[in-house]
């Protein structure tokens, strides 16, 4: 049977569409020209300028602190939630629990942002880094819970019961049986929570208040006020970071898969 060439051609076009804008942006970050309207020679000047922008580094530090704490808290909450959903799947409480975990994923970000803002204003919580942290944990829990739940559904719970039958206490069971089996799911969940927190703009923008700045908020105001070459350089650094993370995580999951086979 002769297959149509159309799907492959469309895929190639889609990939060019995905990557060309990003490649042009990276190239322009090394362009000496201020407006990026033509190539005026290779230069690191925008990266050098970036180093001197104290506000960007402050924002980067805030982003990192928030992302790390959010990752830890949402990993703990998401994992307990996944364990409950998996272990007590048939109870009425878990059906409500699952709905509550699932719904934030389908709610547009702006709605979550505005409802959290109103809740904080109504409760008199001052807006700042702490409210950003609370908001990020709220949307990260769902992602972590579903990723870990996916991993839990793959393994045989009888192993845990066997460990308990053989006299292991709950701490021993958790540490020696559950944790090693869950590790790839936990790593994937943590990575996802970290990335979502670092990248989030809309919800953060609503609950940040006037004082607190994260990297996406800083980037947004730079876009609005037209610091184009600096954003190119900053974006390139962030993209490099993303590619490295994706590469490392692929490596990690690959070795995990192999271990599983042995």
């Amino acid at each position: 049977m002769k297959r149509s060439r159309f799907p492959s051609a469309a895929t190639a076009a889609v990939l060019v569409f995905f990557y060309l804008p990003i490649l042009i942006l990276i190239a322009n970050s090394f362009n000496a020209s201020r407006f990026g309207s033509g190539w005026q020679g290779f230069s690191f000047r925008w990266y050098a300028r970036l180093l001197r922008e104290a506000e960007i580094w402050q924002a980067a530090r805030n982003t990192l602190v928030i992302a790390l704490t959010v990752t830890v808290v949402s990993l703990v909450l998401g994992t307990t939630s996944a364990l409950a959903l998996h272990r007590f799947a048939r109870s009425k409480l878990q059906r409500f629990h699952f709905t509550l975990i699932y719904t934030p994923l389908v709610v547009p970000e702006i709605l979550m942002g505005i409802s959290l803002l109103m809740a904080f204003v109504a409760a008199g919580v001052p807006l700042g880094l702490f409210t950003i942290f609370l908001a990020h944990v709220t949307f990260c829990i769902s992602y972590v819970a579903l990723v870990v739940l996916g991993r839990l559904q793959d393994f045989d719970y009888a192993v845990v019961e066997a460990a308990q039958d053989l006299g292991a206490g709950w701490w021993m069971t958790a540490r020696r049986v559950l944790l090693p089996m869950l590790a790839p799911g936990l790593a994937a969940g943590a990575l996802l929570a970290f990335t979502l927190s670092v990248d989030d703009f809309v919800i953060t923008f609503f609950v940040a208040g006037p004082g607190a700045t994260t990297l996406p908020i800083r980037v947004y105001s730079m876009i609005k006020h037209g610091a184009t070459p600096l954003i190119n350089a900053l974006s390139t650094l962030l993209l490099a970071l993303t590619f490295t993370t994706v590469f490392i995580s692929r490596r990690l999951t690959r070795t995990k898969v192999l271990e599983g086979k042995i």
């Binding site: 939630s81 409950a84 547009p108 505005i114 409802s115 990248d199 947004y220």
Partner: protein
């Protein structure tokens, strides 16, 4: 008894967190729409219907309609592009398939703002796309590529396309391609075979892809804000304006309710349709 205790221990932390920071705040939005605003950007005492009544105005109707059609067009384009892409990835050899999948997933991990910004500089009057199109004689020197509805749809497709490819690929991967070959052997031409055999086979994937693009599209705020103009403002922009510019939270709440209803409509529609379809399929399975 111990089981109940265990369940509570594992469930209560997330349940409390999500009730406090998700369910509660969402319900609060419905209440605040009926409270009067105070001049300091807060909420005044008493109850009023005036905010909700103010929404029944041709101006908001235009914006709601525009939000709807921009989202529908974006979704249609995404599905149109995702179908051949998902199909091609599912049919390629395993090694190549992994590479293609990774290339579709990477944009998902890269910053949303950066991807919007990349297009903003591409479409800029001094940018490369504009220059190329003018050199080819396709557009005039004065034709703006940025700050209109066209640029909003283009960038929305760009940011949402990976989300629509993945569910379609996931469905296509489970599809038995021998069915397609059988249809071709029986004389079906490629496109009718695709439409009558492949498309119904991956229906669930198409439904998921539609929802994951349509719902965030309806709530779009950043894309129309950064690459759109006054003529392409969407509900999300109005909500943000009421919050940050007018500092009128009740009005923002009322607009949010409109958005919530707009998002719920397709979800409920899909749920009802699937309930209807699900029954005969179960009978079929049991019969077989």
């Amino acid at each position: 008894m111990r089981r109940k205790y265990q369940e509570a221990l594992l469930t209560v932390p997330t349940l409390v967190w999500l009730v406090l920071f998700f369910l509660g705040p969402t319900l609060l939005v419905f209440f605040l729409a009926f409270r009067p605003p105070d001049p300091y950007g807060g909420v005044g005492p008493g109850w009023t219907l005036s905010t909700v009544r103010a929404l029944i105005h041709p101006y908001y109707l235009t914006i709601a309609w525009r939000t709807l059609w921009i989202s529908v067009v974006t979704t249609a384009i995404c599905i149109f592009l995702a179908l051949p892409t998902g199909y091609a990835i599912a049919r390629s050899a395993p090694k190549r398939r992994n590479l293609l999948l990774m290339m579709v997933i990477i944009p998902f991990w890269t910053s949303f703002l950066i991807r919007v910004f990349a297009w903003r500089s591409l479409l800029h009057p001094e940018g490369p796309v504009k220059k190329a199109l003018v050199a080819l004689g396709l557009v005039g020197e004065q034709t703006p590529l940025l700050y209109n509805t066209g640029s909003v749809i283009l960038v929305m497709v760009y940011t949402f396309l990976p989300f629509s490819i993945l569910p379609i690929y996931a469905a296509a991967e489970k599809f038995d391609f021998r069915l397609l070959e059988a249809a071709r052997d029986l004389g079906a031409r490629p496109f009718p075979a695709f439409r009558r055999v492949f498309l119904p086979g991956i229906r669930q994937g198409v439904v998921t892809a539609t929802l994951v693009v349509l719902i965030p599209s309806l709530g779009s705020y950043v894309v129309p804000d950064l690459v759109g103009g006054p003529s392409s403002e969407m509900l999300g922009n109005k909500i943000a304006q009421r919050v940050f510019v007018d500092r009128n939270l009740p009005h923002a709440s009322a607009l949010s309710i409109v958005l919530i209803l707009a998002v719920l409509a397709p979800l409920v529609a899909v749920l009802l349709l699937q309930r209807k379809k699900a029954k005969p399929e179960i009978i079929l399975e049991e019969g077989a």
